[in-house]
């Protein structure tokens, strides 16, 4: 039990770190495309880790299923939305930032 608790705590903290990375990316990255990178990847991974950390603790399989469902939904939404926004930004002629 304590082993599972420890594992879950590690997963939850790691997930939060990725959320911090997503926020940092949103604030620090130079243009909309790079910010989309931070948003989709870091946040989805963060949410995934938190979902796994909570799933390890949960009592019933139905809860695990619901957690996974939430994750898959968020991931799918983020992927399609980022593609929509990036595509429209290109259409509107927003130039990608270059070093």
């Amino acid at each position: 039990m304590t082993l599972i608790n420890g594992l879950s705590a590690v997963l939850l903290i790691a997930g939060s770190v990725f959320f911090l990375a997503g926020t940092l990316g949103l604030l620090r990255f130079p243009d909309i495309y790079t910010r989309l990178h931070a948003l989709t990847k870091a946040d989805n991974l963060g949410l995934g880790l938190i979902v796994m950390g909570l799933a390890a603790q949960s009592q019933s399989w139905a809860t695990v299923g619901k957690l996974l469902l939430i994750w898959v939904l968020v991931m799918f939404a983020a992927a399609s939305v980022s593609q929509l926004i990036a595509g429209r930004a290109l259409q509107r002629g927003i130039r990608p930032w270059k070093r």
Binding site: I13, Q57, I70, A77
Partner: protein, 92 residues
């Protein structure tokens, strides 16, 4: 564990409020929308943590609705409020 859940929820809330800077500063409308999208994901995570902390599985349903509606708003934004440039239509 209880304290950990709450501490992480607080941490995520701080993240969310820090992300508010992007809403206020822009520079483009898409950046603002992007930040709102980030809030959606972050609040889903906060809700999951609160659900576990308060032992209220009903909160998972709220998180589910959050996940669905963030996408609805973003699609409404791209289709309605942020149309493409002239002579461009959806490639799909």
């Amino acid at each position: 564990m209880h304290i950990l859940y709450l501490a992480l929820a607080l941490f995520l809330l701080l993240n969310l409020i820090a992300g508010m800077y992007r809403v206020l500063r822009g520079p483009t409308v898409a950046d603002r929308m992007l930040a709102a999208q980030l809030f959606g994901t972050t609040s889903v995570a906060i809700l999951l943590l609160l659900a576990q902390a308060a032992n209220q599985p009903a909160l998972l349903d709220v998180a589910l609705v959050f996940a669905l509606l963030a996408a609805v708003t973003a699609v409404a934004f791209v289709r309605r409020a942020w149309p493409g440039a002239e002579a461009n239509h959806d490639p799909h």
